[in-house]
């Protein structure tokens, strides 16, 4: 049997059996296998794409959160600053008001004191004058006849006397 001479019988069986195998496998094996593979690949691809999308969304969310946080921080800083200035202003205002009030009260007190002093001085003057007159009267009642002359003299003396 020559090895390079093809045998008719074997060719016949090879054609018949091989074609049957191709047809059977095509229907019962390759088609379901290939379609399952394709399905799985597309599902994996879909899952990957979804994961990517989720990642992107997450990033966006994170960025949004950060933005919100930054805004909140800015707001806080602004409020704090405002509050500080306001409180400073208040303090300043209160200080000026207090100072003003103080100086006003001091001035009032001074005025009152001056008035009191003046009144007291006038009273002292009067009292002193009265007293002098009384003294002089008593003295003069005893020894002097010319009362007005004496009074004039006493007055002039008293005017010379400056109590302060």
């Amino acid at each position: 049997m020559n090895i390079v001479t093809p045998e008719l019988g074997l060719i016949f069986w090879q054609v018949v059996i091989f074609l049957i195998v191709v047809l059977l496998l095509r229907t019962y094996a390759w088609k379901p296998i290939l379609s399952s593979l394709k399905e799985r690949e597309s599902s994996i691809e879909g899952a990957l794409r979804m994961a990517d999308q989720a990642k992107l969304e997450m990033q966006q969310l994170q960025a949004g959160n950060e933005k919100l946080l930054a805004e909140a921080r800015m707001e806080r800083d602004r409020i704090l600053k405002e509050a500080t200035t306001m409180s400073n202003q208040f303090i300043e205002q209160a200080k000026t008001k207090a100072t003003e009030e103080g100086s006003r009260m001091i001035a009032q007190a001074r005025e009152a004191i001056q008035n009191e002093k003046n009144a007291a001085l006038a009273e002292v003057k009067n009292t002193a004058a009265q007293l002098s007159i009384d003294i002089a009267e008593r003295i003069l009642r005893r020894e002097l006849t010319d009362q007005p002359a004496q009074q004039q003299l006493v007055d002039s003396y008293l005017k010379e006397v400056k109590l302060n």
Partner: protein, 350 residues
């Protein structure tokens, strides 16, 4: 994976041991004059009976059916046992494994020979394996593959992505059943041929011829006008040269499948011949001392054959895909590249 590796290892050890008795039988039958050439040709050739081994004077043989057609007496079916050792049955006898009629009439031999039986076993094996795999997909859906399914899935994906998609292009899906079947058929048959007692199916020219002719027919039936334009008016070839180019291209159509046929046949047959030659050395030298050397070399060739088994399946499939790809291609990009200028510009840009 581990189980598979173990199975493979078992397989190696079996054949390594089994090679010896096969050679011994050849030696025993032609006891005085051991003729290695005849023994090897007998082993790689086809046979009407499946001879396993011989113990003493007893041959352990599976007798396969003989189916013969003669113009005069029609279809004859009987067991090859009737023809054993040169017996004549219904006017038929075996002349060097060739079925002939005693009255000289033409005999069409459709017998289930050893190769046909192996072909049936390989086909049955493929059907069982791949329908099981397909069932795995039906059961598990898009979940991860398991067991046999996960062993064959990478191969199927490889054929699809690296062979079909790359060589054929977007129209690859139509050809997938043929490519997958031819790949696994050649691989399975090669592996069966390596088993002890296995037939040299893919090393038989009738088998490779049939596969090559199927590839040629698929190529021709799926060819578009670009393919024929390329053959009858090869772009870039001066008109004066066409009378030479057209016959060359036409020969090319036939040479491509012819190379497929010869490559597979020669590779597988050569592997078997080399292995058997190493084993024959023991009987040529009639010395047990040579046995370890021939076994070592035989084993080495056997491992090589395991690689060749899948490699040749891959090459046959890849070339088939490329021939189909050439026939269904829309544009011949290759011509642009030869022309330089436009073709070279994007290449330099990279």
């Amino acid at each position: 994976m581990k189980r598979l590796l173990f199975a493979l290892l078992c397989l190696f050890s079996l054949t390594a041991r089994a090679n010896e008795p096969i050679a011994t039988t050849a030696d025993a039958t032609e006891s005085e004059n051991f003729n290695p050439g005849e023994m090897i040709l007998h082993h790689i050739g086809d046979s009407h009976e499946w001879h396993w081994f011989t113990l003493g004077e007893t041959h352990y043989t599976t007798h396969l059916p003989v189916i013969a057609y003669r113009a005069g007496s029609g279809l004859t079916v009987f067991s090859s046992h009737e023809l054993a050792e040169g017996k004549v049955h219904e006017g038929l006898k075996l002349d060097h494994e060739h079925l002939v009629s005693t009255d000289g009439a033409k005999v069409y031999d459709f017998s289930i020979t050893k190769n046909v039986a192996t072909l049936m076993i390989a086909s049955a094996l493929m059907l069982v394996v791949f329908i099981t795999v397909a069932r795995g997909y039906a059961k598990r859906g898009t979940a991860a593959p398991r067991g046999m399914q996960s062993f064959f899935e990478p191969l199927i994906i490889f054929i699809r992505d690296e062979v079909a998609k790359k060589s054929i292009g977007p129209k690859y899906e139509r050809y997938m059943p043929y490519l997958l079947t031819v790949f696994f058929f050649i691989w399975f048959s090669n592996m069966l041929g390596l088993l002890p007692g296995g037939a040299n199916l893919t090393g038989n020219i009738a088998v490779t011829l049939t596969l090559a002719v199927i590839t040629l027919l698929i190529t021709l039936f799926s060819s578009n006008k670009n393919y024929w334009a390329h053959i009858f008016a090869t772009p870039g070839v001066p008109k004066a040269l066409l009378p030479i180019m057209i016959p060359v291209e036409l020969i090319g159509i036939v040479v491509k499948p012819f190379s497929l046929m010869v490559r597979l046949f020669a590779n597988i047959t050569a592997g078997h011949i080399v292995t058997l030659s190493f084993i024959s050395l023991i009987f040529i030298f009639r010395n047990i001392g040579i046995a370890p050397v021939s076994l070592a070399f035989g084993l080495f060739i056997f491992f090589l054959e395991l690689l060749v088994a899948i490699l040749q399946a891959y090459i046959f499939t890849l070339l088939t895909a490329m021939y189909i790809g050439g026939a269904v291609e829309d544009h011949h990009d290759a011509d642009l590249q030869i022309g330089g200028g436009d073709g070279a510009a994007p290449a330099q840009a990279h």
